[in-house]
């Protein structure tokens, strides 16, 4: 399965009540790439996905699949596969019926349909479940069927709208790694929407972090974490400590709890750092504070330290 490049050009979408969901979005998703759109609720990530899918038409701007402009095409003619948060399986059809639905519409012969259906059941590890009813399946199985259904007609693009959000933590983890392997082996262009940074980090070739309808950052998971473009991205992806600078001193910056070394010319107003970049010392550190809380988390512990200030 080869991928299709997706291109959004200056897309903007406002709702009838005037709120702008997505503003001037330019985005290229490379063929075969898995792009994760990450952000808090209401940041425009779902609207972006729905514009790619064809459920929403952008007010301005254009959407391209490869070289063809699909802005005006409804979803049923865009050749996309879609996986929904609440599975959206047809309760009136059994598992095989759900998977075959899209194949029937594409006019495959019964023999071809059954062959493809068996392939997909095997792909998602549900070989013997073809004749099961949807209500007999667990949440994880349902989402696998939904995935098989979306992939069956060999879509150009796979879109996933928070597909793991309705599952419990353990199952989510397992399905996530299965999904990761699947997307990598299929090499299909996929867009995955989530508000879970762990999912984003694990699945994305690149992550698009969105904030209030705009791109906050678009980069690899590593870059997003290590070189966040701004404080929003830094605090949304991973944990973050912020130290407001009180005043520059001769050799550094005075902050609540001590003084940090600094050699630059223009002093920043806030210094940020990741928790793992701080080290607890007996004496002689740059910062001093009082331990307020300690949370054991297995492989690591989280310390809450009061350094004074706000």
């Amino acid at each position: 399965m080869s991928g299709t490049t997706i291109r959004l050009q200056g897309c903007r979408k406002a709702f009838t009540d005037g709120t702008v969901a997505v503003d001037n979005l330019n985005l290229t998703i490379e063929a075969g790439e898995t792009l994760v759109i990450l952000g808090p609720s209401g940041c425009g990530k779902t609207t972006t996905l729905r514009m790619i899918a064809g459920f929403e038409r952008p007010d301005t701007g254009q959407v391209f699949f490869g070289d063809s402009n699909v802005t005006r095409l409804p979803i049923e003619r865009r050749d996309v596969g879609m996986v929904f948060q609440n599975y959206a399986l047809f309760p009136n059809l059994n598992v095989a019926g759900n998977i075959i639905y899209g194949l029937k519409i594409r006019g495959l012969s019964p023999a071809e349909r059954n062959k493809r259906c068996a392939e997909l059941l095997e792909l998602v590890g549900l070989q013997d479940h073809g004749q099961r009813h949807i209500h007999e399946l667990s949440g994880g199985q349902r989402q696998r069927v939904a995935l098989a259904r979306a992939l069956a007609p060999r879509p150009r693009v796979l879109l996933l709208d928070e597909p793991l959000a309705a599952l419990d933590a353990q199952l989510r983890e397992r399905l996530r790694s299965e999904l990761d392997q699947l997307l990598r082996s299929l090499r299909i262009t996929s867009v995955f929407v989530t508000h879970d940074q762990g999912e984003a980090m694990a699945l994305g070739d690149r992550i698009l972090v969105m904030d209030r309808g705009r791109v906050a950052q678009l980069a690899t998971p590593r870059d997003i974490y290590q070189q966040p473009a701004n404080a929003f991205v830094a605090s949304f992806v991973g944990n973050l400590n912020a130290f407001p600078v009180i005043e520059p001193t001769a050799h550094g910056l005075k902050v609540s709890g001590g003084e940090l070394p600094w050699k630059g010319i223009q002093a920043p107003t806030t210094v940020y750092c990741r928790p793992e970049h701080l080290r607890v010392m007996d004496d002689g550190g740059h910062l001093r504070g009082r331990l307020v809380g300690q949370f054991f988390q297995g492989a690591q512990s989280r310390l809450l330290v009061d350094v004074g200030g706000a």
Binding site: M82, F84, A88, F90, Y101, G102, H135, A150
Partner: protein
């Protein structure tokens, strides 16, 4: 197990209420089978009256069935898409329309029939045809299908199911028939059950709209009450009940099975 006095008091009360409602029905049925109602059962039982009714009024039975079935079909064809549109639009206009649709139910049947006669009465062909009565029945029974179908459509996660179907390449018409209709079966069946029942028993509208050539069962019944012996009218009631009770039980069973399936 010792039951309290209250239990027996309630039991007696319930039985009395049941008797109050059922005895007239039973008496009426019995009247249709007695040789002479004024003599009573002691005068002997007979099926003569039933035969007589069948000979005189069997066309009304067939017409009523024909009307009920056609009415159910028409109401389905109009009502299911209408319910879908109303649920989809869900704005001030659609709510107003929903109210408007219930108007023929709230209004006396005679009034709606009169309105139909005033408007379409001059079209002789239509006026003389049974289709004229069908129009009245469809108007009257439409909300009884649209309402339950709308309720089912609102309960289901239909919009997402349709989006899923669309993503798999289904156009609007394909989506309606392959996703919307199958997932609203329970509501449609409940509605059809109601529509058939109402259409079979409808008298007000039908009495105004009928011609001597297009008499339905209830109209014939009124006719026989007015003109024939009491025993004939009662035998007629018996035929009506024989017709409608099995139908109701069957439809009820189907819709119960469907709604059980829906809940799983």
């Amino acid at each position: 197990m010792k039951r309290s006095t209250l239990f027996f008091a309630q039991l007696v009360f319930t039985l009395l209420v049941c008797a109050f409602m059922l005895v007239p029905v039973l008496l009426s049925l019995l009247a249709g089978l007695t040789r002479n109602y004024f003599v009573g059962v002691s005068g002997g039982l007979t099926l003569d009256w039933l035969v007589q009714v069948w000979q005189a009024y069997s066309p009304t039975v067939w017409l009523s069935l024909q009307l009920a079935v056609s009415c159910a079909v028409c109401v389905c064809v109009i009502g299911v898409p209408a319910a879908y549109a109303l649920v989809r639009m869900n704005n001030r206009f659609s709510r107003a329309f929903e109210e408007l649709m219930v108007l023929p139910v709230a209004m006396p049947g005679l009034a709606s029939a009169l309105a139909l006669l005033l408007t379409y009465g001059q079209f002789g062909e239509l006026r003389r045809s049974w289709l004229f009565i069908l129009v009245g029945h469809v108007l009257f029974t439409l909300p009884f299908l649209v309402r339950p179908v709308m309720a089912v459509m609102q309960r289901q996660q239909l919009p997402t199911l349709e989006e899923a179907a669309a993503s798999l390449g289904a156009g609007p018409i394909k989506r309606f028939f392959s996703v919307v209709v199958p997932n609203c079966r329970a509501g449609i069946l409940a509605g059809v059950l109601m529509v058939v029942t109402l259409s079979l028993g409808e008298f007000n509208l039908t009495w105004m709209l009928h011609t001597p050539m297009t008499k339905t069962l209830p109209v014939g019944l009124a006719d026989s009450y007015a003109s024939a012996r009491l025993e004939v009218a009662s035998a007629y009631t018996l035929i009506f009940l024989l017709m409608i009770v099995p139908l109701l039980i069957a439809l009820q069973a189907i819709s119960a099975r469907l709604s059980r399936g829906e809940r799983r």
